[in-house]
């Protein structure tokens, strides 16, 4: 079975107090931030790696981005991917349609029984990409998958709905799933593992090799500007001995009708 | 086989017969001494063979360069007059049997220091004084491959020494050092006195630890802060085999500002630690050893010693407890030297 996982590189903003919007007002200040693999994609990769451990799966990890994006693919290789392909194109400013066009074109060139995406990205978080690619490929999909089990020619999945309700499907392969966090426990990738992955081949392609032209990648949605949300007005810091603070908190929650 | 070089005729011409007349454990006049040593030389029984506490001292007393002590031991064995009970002899002989595999022969650089069977005392050869020495016999599990065997002089078993020693010298020589400092002066005595006396080849030069320490201290002269303490030296039986190196004790003391106290039992009159005597077969040996220790200790106390300086680990084991109970601090010579150059002595483990 052939599994393709699409991954993305995102800035890690967890270490800062607040994000800073840059001068263009169309992006955040990235220079002080380190990059990492998109959280959701790590779960997708782990799901794929677990499939590979169970059965004879060939695993390919793909991404679209400039050369520093190689590091997320190295990570995928360290997690067990057999192949890694990067389409060399900086699409940070591009819209979801453009990116999904590239990814769909790439996946089409690869054998694929199962295509996995993270359910959304940590930076722009549109949650559209996987679904759009599925549509372009013309294969069935399920979004926000919280468990999956591959059978003969099909995959059984649970999707997460509101308030923790689950929806179960059997989907025929080939299919595309977008993976929710919590579906598994992504393994730790050791620095040694990544170093060993440095020795593995990483394939680079251009958009033109995929037969794509600039018109085909023209944006359908344009980002106008980024803004930080207005500060909330009511924040109350409760301090004091635990017995008292707990009591006050309970009172507040009761009054708000939460308890 | 190896034969002891002993010339009985020199004893006949000896004017003092110091070997026996100076013995601190037997009261013997000159006439008796000459008669008894001649009897012993001739292979006859003598009360000396029965009463000897095996303190080695007659090796030093002999003015003729003969080997009265080695002779006594050979005769004790030949005539089956063991100074110790049989189980102790068997135990002693078995102690020297290596049983944990072959030693690893590492290339030694010059100079090398051989720990002999005291590999677990490596903590005593730390610090500047020993920097740069390559060490032979570092592994307590393999140390009996480096055992000089001379302890068997106390056991009336020169046969064991002669049987095992050539193999031991060979093992030490394999390390390739030309000059070897011996941690224990019994090893030093073995290679510089006993081996020549019985004709065993020694393919290396031996250096006495105290000579080495003396020279090292001179190199580190700038670091020496005079200790200004009163010391008594517990001279071990083995040092009787290298009386020419005994002066280094005082030389070192002078160099590091340690003051030897005025004692009765000092230098040639030094008393045995009692470790060997206490187990001997002769009636009353345990109490005799206790008496020797008591006299030795009283002498140190009366002389006002603050530190009792040791050369031999066996003496240390026997006497460190008793001297501490008298308020005197027991210390190995190397530790005393380390103290003098501002290092922390390794102390007692």
């Amino acid at each position: 079975m052939d599994v393709v996982v699409c991954v993305k590189r995102v800035p890690d903003a967890s270490g800062m107090d607040a994000l800073v919007i840059d001068a263009s007002r169309k992006d955040i200040e990235r220079r002080t931030l380190v990059a990492k693999i998109n959280d959701w994609d790590e779960y997708a990769l782990e799901a794929a790696a677990q499939l590979k451990e169970k059965a004879g799966v060939s695993l390919t990890a793909v991404t679209v981005g400039p050369d520093e994006w190689d590091d997320v693919l190295r990570r995928a290789l360290a997690m067990g991917a057999d192949r890694a392909i990067r389409v060399d194109e900086d699409m940070l400013a591009a819209d979801c349609h453009a990116v999904s066009t590239v990814l769909a074109a790439l996946v089409r060139t690869l054998p694929h029984d199962l295509v996995l995406f993270g359910a959304q990205s940590e930076d722009f978080g549109s949650g559209q990409l996987g679904v759009m690619v599925a549509e372009m490929l013309g294969i069935p999909h399920a979004a926000l998958v919280v468990s999956l089990e591959v059978g003969e020619g099909s995959v059984r999945v649970d999707r997460e709905l509101e308030a923790g309700a689950l929806e179960s499907y059997a989907i025929e392969l080939p299919a595309l799933l977008t993976i929710q966090t919590g579906v598994n426990r992504p393994r730790y990738i050791s620095v040694g593992g990544i170093r060993r992955a440095m020795k593995k081949d990483l394939q680079i392609m251009s958009v033109s090799e995929l037969g794509l032209t600039a018109e085909m990648l023209a944006p359908q949605a344009v980002l106008e500007r980024l803004e930080t949300p207005p500060r909330g007005k009511e924040a109350e810091l409760i301090s004091g001995p635990p017995e008292e603070t707990a009591e006050r908190l309970v009172g507040i929650l009761r009054n708000a009708g939460i308890l | 086989m190896y034969e002891l070089r002993f010339d009985a005729t020199t004893c006949l011409s000896c004017e003092t017969n110091d070997c026996l007349t100076r013995c601190q454990y037997m009261d013997i006049d000159r006439e008796t001494a000459k008669a008894e040593i001649t009897k012993i030389a001739n292979g006859e029984d003598s009360f000396v063979l029965h009463d000897c506490v095996t303190c080695y001292a007659c090796e030093e007393y002999c003015p003729m360069g003969n080997h009265p002590f080695y002779l006594i031991v050979e005769r004790q064995e030949e005539l089956d007059i063991p100074p110790l009970p049989r189980p102790l002899i068997k135990r002693g002989i078995q102690t020297g049997i290596p049983f944990r595999g072959e030693p690893e022969i590492t290339e030694a650089t010059e100079p090398a220091l051989c720990m002999g069977v005291f590999s677990d005392l490596m903590y005593l050869i730390q610090g500047k004084l020993f920097e740069g020495l390559s060490v032979i016999s570092m592994d307590p599990r393999k140390m009996f491959h480096y055992f000089c065997q001379l302890m068997y002089l106390h056991y009336a078993r020169t046969s064991v020494i002669k049987e095992r020693l050539p193999g031991i010298t060979e093992t030490i020589a394999k390390h390739g050092a030309r000059e070897i400092v011996f941690f224990h002066d019994e090893c030093y005595g073995t290679y510089t006195s006993y081996c020549p006396a019985v004709g065993i080849d020694v393919p290396f030069e031996s250096v006495h630890l105290f000579e080495y320490l003396y020279n090292r201290l001179n190199e580190l002269n700038d670091d020496i802060r005079p200790l200004n303490i009163k010391v008594a030296y517990q001279r071990p039986c083995s040092s009787r085999l290298s009386p020419d190196k005994h002066h280094f004790v005082q030389d070192i003391f002078d160099l590091i500002g340690a003051h030897s106290v005025e004692r009765e039992y000092v230098d040639e009159n030094a008393l045995c630690c009692g470790g060997t005597i206490q187990g001997q077969r002769r009636e009353g040996s345990r109490l005799r050893a206790a008496d020797v220790q008591k006299r030795n200790l009283e002498d140190m106390v009366n002389a006002g010693a603050e530190v009792c300086v040791f050369n031999c680990p066996a003496c240390y084991n026997t006497l460190a407890g008793p001297v501490s109970r008298e308020g005197i601090r027991p210390m190995y010579m190397s530790d005393l030297c380390r103290l003098a150059i501002g290092e922390n002595p390794a102390g007692r483990r």
């Binding site: - | 063991p82 110790l84 009970p85 049989r86 189980p87 102790l88 068997k90 135990r91 002693g92 078995q94 102690t95 049997i97 049983f99 470790g275 206490q278 187990g279 077969r281 002769r282 009636e283 009353g284 040996s285 345990r286 109490l287 026997t318 407890g321």
Partner: protein, 453 residues
């Protein structure tokens, strides 16, 4: 869900119950050659009340309960042979009382030997208890429950003879006290009440000891040991008889072992002495080493190796590393002292037949009334063949004990069978009745001392 698990959690709290594979793995092992058996639950209670509830639960559910102290019997006595609850008692670790004047200590069942020794050293330096040769995590209660002996065995006998009182949770859950503590706040004597002592030597099959009062003895300023060596094993019974006659030693042990070579074929007698002054020490030394042993020295048959001050803590766990294999087990026996020579010779033969360096030891109990004689066999945990050899040697040693007219000390299942085969049928029947009376559901450490139907 597992209702027994839930009940156990309710009794001791979730942190002190486990059904996880890791705990079940660890608690399935003895440190010796006994095959592991997994418990179904590992539980670590803190109070007698909790133990009561656990035992009642076990009765309701018919689940075995296997009490465990230090886990160092090496005979497999705390291996859950039939599964059930492995009851780790080491959280019950309070030293409840030391009565300086009446010389006793009351301890909870998880108090270790090392803990009591250290406690006495720090707070009651004039008192000591009889510490066995086991590693210090061995417990006081576990040791008396198997009739252990310690380093005061020569003057005062078995540690189980030093029990002044017990608190026991019966297999049916009642708490009973025995000795003066059953009627008085003092835990100072087991006597003179009607004797219902049914808990010592039963290896936890008749109840769980939760508290023990143990006798303490004078601890003198100077402790130390002299060593005496002989080659002829036939001399040992005679020497022991003569030394015990002096009433001067506080521990007397003879040993011989192949490794290190110095001890091979020789018998070392370690004679421990204690004294409050140099005068007392000199007197005792003279009496033993000169007046009593002097003639052996003069004849050349025995040698004095010197006297070392200070008391060595048990170093027995080093035995496990003789074959660099992390394991050893021994057969302990209670023998007449006169059998020492035969025990040594036959033990040496067994060892040599199984290619194990021999190690034998005899510790005198009482005034030469008996000795604990042990044959120790080291094995390599990573090499099943050596484990098998050791197990065979152990079984042969068990057989030998009975052949020589001795009794096996803390026998494992194999030894228990040998003992029961030889036991007077009426005694055996009484044991059976006692067991049925106390433990009608057979939940306590089943597989041990099973008299059969």
């Amino acid at each position: 869900m597992d209702s027994i698990y839930d009940s156990l959690v309710e009794i001791v709290g979730s942190e002190h119950v486990s059904t996880q594979p890791e705990e079940l793995y660890i608690y399935s092992f003895d440190l010796g050659t006994t095959e592991p058996h997994r418990p179904d639950y590992a539980v670590a209670p803190r109070t007698t009340g909790e133990i009561q509830q656990i035992v009642r639960l076990a009765n309701r559910e018919k689940v075995p309960v296997v009490p465990l102290g230090g886990g160092l019997s090496l005979a497999g006595l705390a291996v859950p042979l039939k599964g059930g609850i492995a009851l780790d008692l080491k959280r019950m670790d309070t030293i409840i009382e030391v009565n300086e004047r009446a010389r006793y200590a009351v301890v909870e069942c998880g108090v270790s030997q090392g803990q009591l020794t250290s406690y006495l050293e720090r707070r009651h330096p004039r008192l000591m208890h009889s510490e066995p040769g086991a590693p210090p995590q061995a417990t006081i209660a576990g040791n008396v429950a198997i009739h252990g002996q310690g380093d005061l065995a020569q003057p005062y006998g078995f540690n189980s003879d030093m029990v002044n009182g017990l608190e026991v949770v019966l297999p049916t859950g009642e708490v009973c006290r025995f000795g003066s503590c059953s009627i008085s706040p003092y835990w100072y004597t087991q006597h003179p009440l009607p004797d219902v002592g049914l808990f010592l030597g039963w290896a936890g099959t008749t109840g769980i000891i939760t508290r023990v009062s143990i006798k303490l003895f004078p601890c003198k300023e100077i402790l130390g040991a002299g060593q005496f060596v002989v080659e002829d094993e036939e001399l040992i019974p005679e020497l022991v008889h003569r030394i015990t006659h002096t009433e001067m030693a506080h521990d007397l042990v003879a040993f011989s072992q192949a490794i290190p070579p110095f001890s091979s074929g020789l018998h070392h007698l370690t004679i421990s002495l204690s004294a409050d002054s140099e005068k007392e020490l000199d007197f005792k030394m003279e009496l033993i080493f000169d007046d009593t042993l002097g003639e052996y020295i003069r004849r050349g048959d025995g040698g004095f190796l010197g006297f070392t001050r200070g008391q060595q803590r048990p170093q027995v766990s080093k035995t496990s590393d003789w074959r660099k294999g992390g394991g050893f087990e021994y057969v302990g026996s209670i023998m007449p002292v006169e059998t020492y020579p035969e025990c040594y010779r036959r033990g040496r033969e067994i060892s040599e037949r199984h290619d194990i360096p021999y190690t034998v030891l005899g510790r005198v109990i009482g005034m030469s009334h008996a000795m604990m004689f042990s044959w120790t066999y080291a094995f390599n945990r990573a090499d099943p063949e050596t484990v098998r050899q050791a197990r065979e040697a152990l079984h042969e040693s068990d057989d030998l004990v009975l052949e020589l007219g001795g009794t096996i000390w803390k026998p494992g299942v194999y030894g228990q069978k040998l003992v029961m085969e030889r036991m007077d049928p009426n005694t055996l029947n009484l044991m059976k009745k006692v067991k049925q009376l106390l433990d009608p559901n057979g939940i306590m450490n089943p597989g041990n001392w099973e008299v059969g139907r």
